[in-house]
């Protein structure tokens, strides 16, 4: 059951990663003219259209992570400590705190992306999106590294 939840958690994280990355790229490197290339199309996505999806995916992915977290504490963290793998352990500690801090930023993120967008909040929108993108990337990579260390059904 835990493995199934872990895979669903990972799939949701990939979806969230795609959404927030698209949005962050389109915020920092917007393309005004008609895109002709793959990179151009990535830059030209309507950033505001991702907001609700990002909020929902963030909450659902974090909730699922919270559900499988006890298994990590019982089966994985102990192994990391026994093997003195301090860096991966610390990376995960940072992940849990970053995710928690990100949850508190979601109402502001949602509000400042609310339509119609005003130029007053341009920088706030861009930085909130970037911080959330960093948290999501950090969480995804750390989760992936720890999963590789522990192995499947090890």
């Amino acid at each position: 059951m835990i493995v199934v939840l872990l895979i669903i958690h990972a799939l949701l994280a990939v979806t969230l990663l795609g959404a927030i990355t698209h949005q962050a790229i389109s915020v920092w490197l917007p393309l005004r003219k008609t895109p002709g290339s793959f990179v151009g199309r990535v830059r030209a996505v309507p950033a505001a259209s991702y907001v609700n999806a990002v909020v929902i995916l963030y909450v659902v992915t974090a909730t699922l992570g919270a559900i499988i977290y006890p298994e990590y504490r019982l089966s994985v963290r102990v192994v990391l400590q026994q093997l003195s793998l301090n860096v991966p352990n610390g990376l995960f500690e940072l992940k849990e705190h970053f995710v928690a801090v990100g949850l508190g930023m979601l109402p502001a993120y949602w509000y400042f992306w609310r339509q119609p967008l005003t130029n007053d909040y341009l920088r706030t929108r861009a930085i909130l999106t970037s911080i959330l993108a960093f948290i999501v990337w950090w969480s995804f990579l750390v989760g992936h590294i720890l999963n590789n260390i522990r192995g499947f059904e090890a």
């Binding site: 006890p70 504490r73 019982l74 500690e93 940072l94 928690a100 508190g104 509000y111 706030t124 909130l128």
Partner: protein, 112 residues
Amino acid sequence: MNVSRSFPVFAIVFAVVYAVMYVIAVEKNYALFTYHPALEEFGFLVEKPREGPAMYWYGWMATSGIVALAAGLLACSIPERAKQRLWSGWSWTIPLAVMFVFGYLLRGYFLR
């Protein structure tokens, strides 16, 4: 109280208070509840580990969420002039600073 006008104030105050309260809750261990994963049991407030580790993360978030919610709702009642002067950048500067604080607090994992 106009909800739509007050929401930016609520959102900014929530982001700030939540981040600050979260780091205080972690440092001082102000968990609203404790989870004992080995026993699959919850306990009110901070409890010592019983048969395995105790998890406080959920409790820290609950404490921070409740305090931030109260602060955000309270901030909605401040005068309109004060609301308009509230800088939207607080919603990211304080959480970002808290992330750096965690990097500092957990430096022991990376320097050993």
